[in-house]
């Protein structure tokens, strides 16, 4: 018996979100008294990453490595993970609730005819069964769920758990692969993007802007603040701003956007509509800057500054830069 963790890769390297799934998997495996098996699917060169999975708690690494798996393949990956779950008699299968995990986990769950809890923020073992907590209605409520089917399928929200090292010498085993399964759907990563900042769903710090910025040109201010906060800072936006076409939808926070919980969240010129608050209210520390002292955002912010953001944000950028340059 085992707990399985899917170790997501991109461009030949294991992603941070994958290490978080190992940490969740390790906790479940310890509580259940079974081994943690990491499933590593990707191009042949990915074999070098197996050791890393051991240092984050995998007792065993099953590899499905082939050129056909260099890019994500819904059918191919599904076949491998489902096979691993059956061969290792998995009690639970943990994915990251990433773009890939959210596509793959439902397919595997349907293949195994097992229920899936998506975007889980907390999971544990109670009386020998897996119990998961996850948001619904974009975080307006949370559900505590028990599984009526096996294995317990989970996708865990990025950053809900902090990856923790738990070193051991992982045994590496090859999963025999039928690369033909990958052929039906062709996936390739679009080449045009250059990633300067982390995606809003995975950023450690989010600098989010709302209608108070007055127009898309004002985002230079927020970019400056994000730069001052360091490489872990990403940009977010309110729905109003996305609907107005000022920012891409990929940055939208809230219901019909992304639900996020970074350690630090700046809401700049964001008034705080219900659907926005739902998507960010579990952030660690919330800082709000708004000219309206009655704005709903101040009701949930840890720290607020009332006033003109066009004066406050440049000063904030400068002071943060200063503070961060000091030891």
């Amino acid at each position: 018996m085992s707990v399985l963790a899917f170790a997501e890769q991109r461009a030949g390297a294991v992603r941070d979100a994958a290490l978080e799934t190992l940490t969740v998997g390790r906790q479940l495996a310890d509580a259940l008294g079974v081994e943690l098996v990491a499933v590593l699917v990707g191009p042949p060169g990915l074999a070098v990453e197996a050791g890393k999975l051991g240092s984050y708690g995998a007792d065993r690494v099953l590899t499905g490595l082939a050129d056909a798996f260099a890019e994500y393949s819904p059918e191919g990956y599904t076949e491998l993970v489902a096979k691993a779950a059956r061969e290792k008699a998995a009690k639970a299968v943990v994915f990251a609730a990433s773009a890939q995990g959210k596509d793959l986990a439902p397919r595997v769950a349907a293949r195994l005819k097992a229920g899936l809890a998506s975007d889980v923020t907390q999971v544990g073992i109670e009386d020998g069964r897996v119990v998961a907590v996850r948001p619904a209605y974009a975080g307006k409520v949370f559900l505590r769920l028990a599984f009526k089917s096996a294995p317990a399928m989970l996708s865990v929200r990025p950053r809900a758990y902090k990856a923790a090292e738990a070193p051991r010498d992982a045994q590496v085993e090859e999963l025999t692969v039928d690369a033909g399964a990958a052929a039906r759907t062709k996936v390739q990563t679009a080449a045009e993007e250059k990633r300067e900042r982390p995606d809003v769903a995975e950023a450690e710090i989010i600098v989010a802007g709302g209608r108070g910025l007055g127009g898309p040109e004002s985002w230079k201010l927020l970019e400056g603040l994000a730069d001052a906060l360091g490489p872990g800072a990403g940009l977010g936006a309110s729905r109003a701003v996305v609907d107005a076409g000022w920012r891409p939808h990929s940055e939208q926070v809230g219901q019909t956007g992304k639900v996020v919980a970074p350690p630090l969240y700046f809401a700049i010129g964001v008034s705080g509509a219900i659907q926005h608050l739902a998507g960010m209210q579990t952030a660690g520390c919330i800082v709000a800057v708004n000219k309206d002292a009655e704005a709903p955002i101040f009701k949930i912010a840890d720290y607020g500054v009332v006033g003109d953001l066009f004066e406050i944000v440049p000063r904030l950028t400068e002071e943060i830069r200063k503070a961060r340059s000091q030891p």
Binding site: E71, A110, G115, K140, R144, I274, E319
Partner: protein, 249 residues
């Protein structure tokens, strides 16, 4: 091209959501219900494909109760040709619902199945990929650009900080993300016509849940913090608190 769009009736995004007396479900009394926003992109996408092809049909389908007819009529008013109500309740997780939908779809002709990427009530983001798996067809989820040429689907899906291009041959499943298009509003003429369009009802029974809700909980409580001050002069104090009190920078 025959397109079937699977849709859902959900509470409006401006709704306040509270738990019901039983503690294990959501109180839906007095809420305003709408067509799931992501499903609007799916319906619009289907209508555009049909318009571009100059022929074909768009069928909308949902699993739900009598009240879901209103949601189907909304999609018919946008321009869908016919509707199917699968009478029964959706499951807590996606699998039971996907099994009911796949069961109903198996006996029908379709080239493309369109969905919204997720319903904004359960937020499961499971059903489209599960239906694809159960039917044994390819699928692209979280799609922001869609092209169909002959039998070949090219879909652009959103991933962290970028996109993936997914290509497959019909029949298959596509799940729409916001940004795919700008959904049309039903016209008055559309609303009038919708009343006369065919709406088929099939009893399928309630979907089986593979998860059980033990408890509905409020989000972790959050109370108002401090207003550090007004204007740019308050900034040094804010930064001091972020560094020394909250220890976040």
């Amino acid at each position: 091209m025959k397109i079937i769009v699977c849709i859902k009736r959900v509470p409006d995004s401006e709704s306040r959501i509270a738990k019901a007396k039983d503690g294990a479900s959501v109180d839906t009394q007095g809420l305003k219900f709408v067509l799931n926003p992501y499903d609007e992109y799916a319906v619009e996408g289907a209508l555009r494909l049909k318009e571009a092809a100059g022929d074909g049909s768009v069928t909308v389908m949902t699993l739900g109760g009598e009240e879901s007819k209103e949601t189907l009529r909304t999609a018919l008013a946008m321009g869908a040709d016919q509707a199917v109500l699968l009478k029964g309740q959706p499951s807590v997780d996606g699998l039971g619902t996907a099994q009911k939908l796949a069961g109903a779809l198996e006996g029908r002709e379709y080239d493309l199945l369109l969905f919204g990427k997720q319903a904004i009530d359960d937020d499961n983001l499971q059903v489209p990929a599960m239906v694809a798996e159960l039917l044994g067809v390819p699928c692209a989820t979280v799609v922001v650009e869609l092209q169909v040429e002959g039998k070949v689907v090219t879909a652009t899906r959103e991933i962290e900080g970028g996109h993936e291009i997914v290509e497959f041959e019909l029949p298959g499943v596509v799940a729409a993300q916001k940004g795919l298009n700008e959904p049309r509003y039903p016209s008055l003429k559309g609303i009038m016509q919708a009343k006369k369009k065919p709406l088929e009802e099939v009893d399928v029974g309630d979907a089986e849940s593979h998860l059980e809700v033990i408890e509905v909980m409020n989000p972790p409580g959050r109370s108002a913090g401090v207003i550090v001050g007004e204007g740019a002069d308050a900034v040094p104090e804010l930064v001091r608190r972020l560094r020394e009190e909250a220890k976040v920078i």
